[in-house]
Amino acid sequence: MQNGQHQSGQGQNGQGQEAVEFGPELETKVAEIISRYPKKKSAIMPALYMAQEHIGWLTDAAIEWVAEKVEESPAHVRSVATFYTMYYKKPVGQYHLQICRTLSCMLCGARDLTAYIKDRLTVDAQVITEDGLWSFEEVECLGSCGSAPMIQINDVFFENLSVESLGSLMDKIAKEKPDLRYSAKKETLGEGMPEAPRSQAWNAEMVKFNKS
């Protein structure tokens, strides 16, 4: 899939369970990852991430691929996949908005962000918009409480948001379609998105304070 973002469920005939090619690159990469661990089974989580990034969500084929690689039963791999919220058991939008709803964000206005998103997308949580572009859910504390309120889009954090800045951020994403996946990473994760500056939660003021 070219520049594959989280692929939406559109055109996949509902559950989209057709056979998938993983390709030699992923095969090599997964073998390398497995070799890092004392036991193969420990590589289930990274292997699930690889399959998920490749397909967009965890289809039966993805589960079976992982099971074969780590030499465990598909049933066990599925039990792991279903325990963790970051593994998608059904398709999500190309951009999946995860709004932090927990206390610090709530205190700083997270509810307004959720209301805005609901209003703008006019779909319920976990439902993909008709154009395949968006889906959203409310999630628990993302470890960015010092830059509340904040949301995560695919794998990138966007912090210190207001309804206005979130609105223009979404406009920009819809227009430019940046790659916000983990694998797009290295120094460039979220690059070209000045809206996602690093370490917002680190307060530059602190240095001044502690020096005085």
Binding site: E140, A148, A201
Partner: protein, 427 residues
């Protein structure tokens, strides 16, 4: 007050994440020094420093290391707990982003002290950027011969793996983390046996928090007594506080333990925002009891003072609430978190969390009966101490403490006409 900067000393350098920059600021000196010492001496040094675990429980680090049997014939593992999911906490994230090699050097020192040849940092799945940073640091360290076979030409072999979690708070609990790393659901194990004896793959395993491990290079460089000289007698050293909520300057701050809580709010946090009054604060992450403003006078940021005041230091997730905060609303928000994150193994936790949340929600909607307050108290008492892991105790901390200190706000929302008709279907 001027605080020591042990963990954050180089946070302001934008190139600090690069190995060369780290080394130019005397990075990787402590591990070189450590590798020339007997591992047992290092454990003694860490014991003497008085360093206590920064993951929440505050257990003395050197003492924990001492529980690892030296003659089991099995491999020993060191796990760096960077699952950081306690609401209000974001210090480990910033440590990994700003100074990843410091985190690595801490792991190297601990691995040598424990005799671990394989170590792993378990980072919560949502922390993509810190994971990238740590992986790059690991790659650089391998390229330089600082990881792998014969590190720093010492004859010691050490592999470090960066492992990404996938969105489960409970994987921060050490046995949940171990289960998860073994490739299972992250459901905690019954203790004992403790991980130090039987952990990853049934082998002796030490789980330490990222911040705990990051303090090691300084301790080795400067000595145990220098560390002990900072902070208080029982709570030596510095601690990172993640400040958030209704304050002017949210962020991560390193302070000497024993610092006045109210001064922290006034100075570092920049005071309560919008010129409002302080109503409450949760000083150690959502799993510790809330403290009303009028009970904060004379309270200091250290393990003992906070415990005496009726709360805990926990993870140092410092959440501030101003006088406009609806405490029933805040409580309901936190109870939802616990319902969502219960791993589901123990009935009191799985069912209890849901009951507590729905009762608080009902109260919040103004549909609670006066007897609900009693039922709530009762239910929480049935949960505490009756579960496999301390999550059960954590989930009742908000409701019990909010009820204790803000009972009036709960009572105001009661529908007093309801008690007469209390029946089976009132939740």
């Amino acid at each position: 007050m001027k605080h020591h900067r042990i963990l954050t000393a180089n946070f302001h350098h934008d190139d600090q994440h690069k190995l060369s920059a780290y080394e130019s600021r005397s990075g990787y000196q402590a591990i070189r020094k450590a590798l020339k010492q007997e591992p047992a001496n290092l454990t003694t040094e860490v014991k003497d420093s008085g360093l206590r675990g920064r993951g929440g429980a505050g257990f003395p680090t050197g003492v924990k290391w001492g529980f690892v049997p030296k003659d089991s014939g099995k491999p020993i593992y060191l796990l760096n707990n960077a699952d950081e999911s306690e609401p209000g906490t974001f210090k480990d994230r910033i440590l990994m982003e700003r100074d990843p090699h410091l985190c690595l050097e801490g792991m190297m020192i601990a691995s040598w002290a424990l005799g671990a040849n394989w170590s792993c940092i378990y980072i919560r799945g949502e922390f993509s950027y810190p994971t990238v940073r740590m992986q790059e640091a690991v790659d650089e360290a391998y390229a330089k011969g600082y990881l792998g076979k014969n590190i720093f030409d010492s004859g010691f072999d050490l592999d470090i793996v960066v492992h990404r979690g996938a969105g489960a708070y409970i994987c921060g609990e050490e046995t949940g983390l171990i289960e998860s790393l073994e490739g299972n659901k992250g459901q905690p194990r019954i203790k004992p046996p403790f991980p130090a004896v039987m952990g990853l793959y049934g082998c002796p395993t030490v789980v330490n928090n990222t911040e705990t491990l990051a303090a090691l290079p300084w301790i080795i460089d400067n000595g145990a007594s220098a560390y002990r000289a900072i902070g208080t007698e029982k709570s030596p050293g510095t601690k990172l506080f993640s400040a958030s909520g209704h304050i002017n300057k949210p962020g991560v701050y390193e302070v000497d333990l024993g610092y006045s809580l109210l001064e922290f709010i006034e100075n570092e946090c920049g005071g309560v925002w919008k010129g409002r009054e302080l109503k409450a604060c949760i000083p150690g992450g959502s799993s510790v009891p809330v403290m009303p403003a009028d009970k904060l006078k004379g309270v200091n940021l250290d393990y003992e003072s906070l415990a005496e005041a009726g709360t805990m230091l926990g993870s140092g997730g410092f959440i501030v609430m101003d006088d406009t905060t609806d405490m029933v609303d805040a409580c309901a928000n936190l109870q939802h978190f616990y319902t969502h994150e219960s791993c589901g193994q123990c009935t009191p936790c799985r069912e209890g969390a849901r009951w507590v949340e729905s009762m608080v929600n009902r109260l919040h909607r103004g549909q609670g009966a006066p007897s609900d307050l009693l039922v709530l108290q009762n239910v929480t008492e049935q949960i505490g101490g009756h579960t496999i892991c301390p999550f059960g105790d954590a989930l009742i901390a908000p409701i019990q403490s909010f009820l204790m200190h803000y009972r009036g706000e709960f009572e105001e929302k009661l529908d007093i006409s309801l008690d007469a008709q209390i029946g089976a279907n009132n939740v």
